[in-house]
Amino acid sequence: MSDQALKTTPLTDAHRALGARMTEFGGYEMPVQYADGVLKEHLWTREHAGLFDVSHMGPSFLRLKHLSGDAKADHEAVSALLEPIVCADVKGLKRGQIRYTLLLNATGGVVDDLMVARPAGDDAQGVLQIIVNAGTKEGDFARIAAAAGDTAELVRADDRGLIAVQGPEAEAVVAAIIPEVADLSFMTLINAPYDGGTVAVSRSGYTGEDGFEILVEAKSARKLWDRLLQDERARPIGLGARDSLRLEAGLPLYGHDLDETISPVEADLGFALSKRRRLAEDFPGAARAIGELGGHLTRRRVGLRVLEGAPAREGAEIVGPDGGVVGRVTSGGFSPSLGAPIAMGYAPPELAEPGAKLGVIVRGKRQAAEVVALPFVPHHYRRKA
């Protein structure tokens, strides 16, 4: 990546104008923090509304080339193309519903985590909206396009703007501009008119807070960003706080807490293995996953409270009661909400239950740590009443 010019998003100029400190992430030049700094940005998001540029991610649409005109049949046909490479019940998605799922390799390791959605509109059946991670998107898109064969085409939408608005005041901030969003519940999406075009708004995010992700045409992205920022309840939030927010929410970050050797069960993402797919045993690595669910598990993702000393960062060794190394930290840092260090990592199942006393090695010294239930900070998703 180093010899290539960094890619920009439709909002890069906006970040510079706001005085952001920029960094490389996933091949893009992205804001790591603004003038407020990570701590204040983090806490602002938990109390008000944070605005995040996540345009570096990989939104795309998988479209059937030939529609039958029967919405149900067309949805099933496009889902049948994606299902062999993920573990979700894509066919079972209702109109306007989003699901978190995992792209898996032949041995059941996680190639990426992603969001797949069935659009709501009559004009968008036989279409799936798929959003993958920035760092993995080229490989993911190739994998999905190969699965689609000649039957569907994968249309990239990663030239557009993708803006996340997260926090308890997110609904008020977004509904002031796009009133339709007030009706959305967690993990649903709609299309709405904006600036002479259409935006796709989903009630989702990666902070543990209520909020939205808005996919907007590049030419309208800056206008929407600036309009959102006019609301004094909203402030821009960089990738630094995005990372500490998702860590507190116990959400894994691909390339850190997830990789191609780790299975969904090891990652404690069993909820992403849909019941239909589990019973049919028809997803990649199904035999492994089912064996692991049956108890054949050697490691599991855990949350750790570091009870003394410095934050334990990615790569720090996790040690058991006898001092032997039992795993490693995959994400770790300081929790602004708790005012204490927290971490996620992998430990053997017998040491992975809340209350288990472990240690982490930071700069050669053992510090006491304890397994705690995830998330560290409760989620505040707006589910249907």
């Binding site: 701590l39 204040k40 630094g240 990372d243 500490s244 000393g309 934050p311 960062r313 840092g333 300081f334």
Partner: protein, 121 residues
């Protein structure tokens, strides 16, 4: 006060020097949430790691700008690490060293030279 290219400062008085990080460094680090101080009695050479500061995002070493023995550490700092941000060149000091080679001070920048150096970054 004298300065290093790693953005530490040294203030010497009677053969003992207080050491901290500059306002520029504090700004670059962001909100400091944890500091690790050396043990009193530890001997360091110029350029050795002396302390660690951690922001929400990352850990950074603070290097000893000069050689000597740690004779005092700032005991208020572990409970108030934000002092590194609010008063980096005063109450945010990390440790005091008894200099083993005071001539090393001559190799460090004065404020004017440090500010010139900052303008090149």
């Amino acid at each position: 006060m004298r300065f290093t290219k790693d953005h530490e400062w040294v203030e010497e008085s009677g053969g003992v020097a207080a050491i901290g990080v500059t306002a520029y460094a504090a700004e670059q680090l962001g909100d400091v949430v944890f500091v690790e101080l050396p043990e009193v009695g530890k001997t360091v050479k110029a350029g050795d790691p002396l302390a660690v500061v951690e922001s929400v995002k990352a850990a950074s070493d603070v290097y000893a700008p000069i050689s000597g023995e740690v004779v005092e550490v700032n005991g208020d700092l572990p409970n108030a690490p934000e002092t590194v941000n609010s008063m980096p060149e005063k109450d945010g000091w990390f440790a005091k060293l008894k200099l083993s080679n005071p001539a090393e001070l001559d190799g460090l920048m004065d404020r004017a030279a440090y500010e010139t150096f900052l303008s090149t970054l």
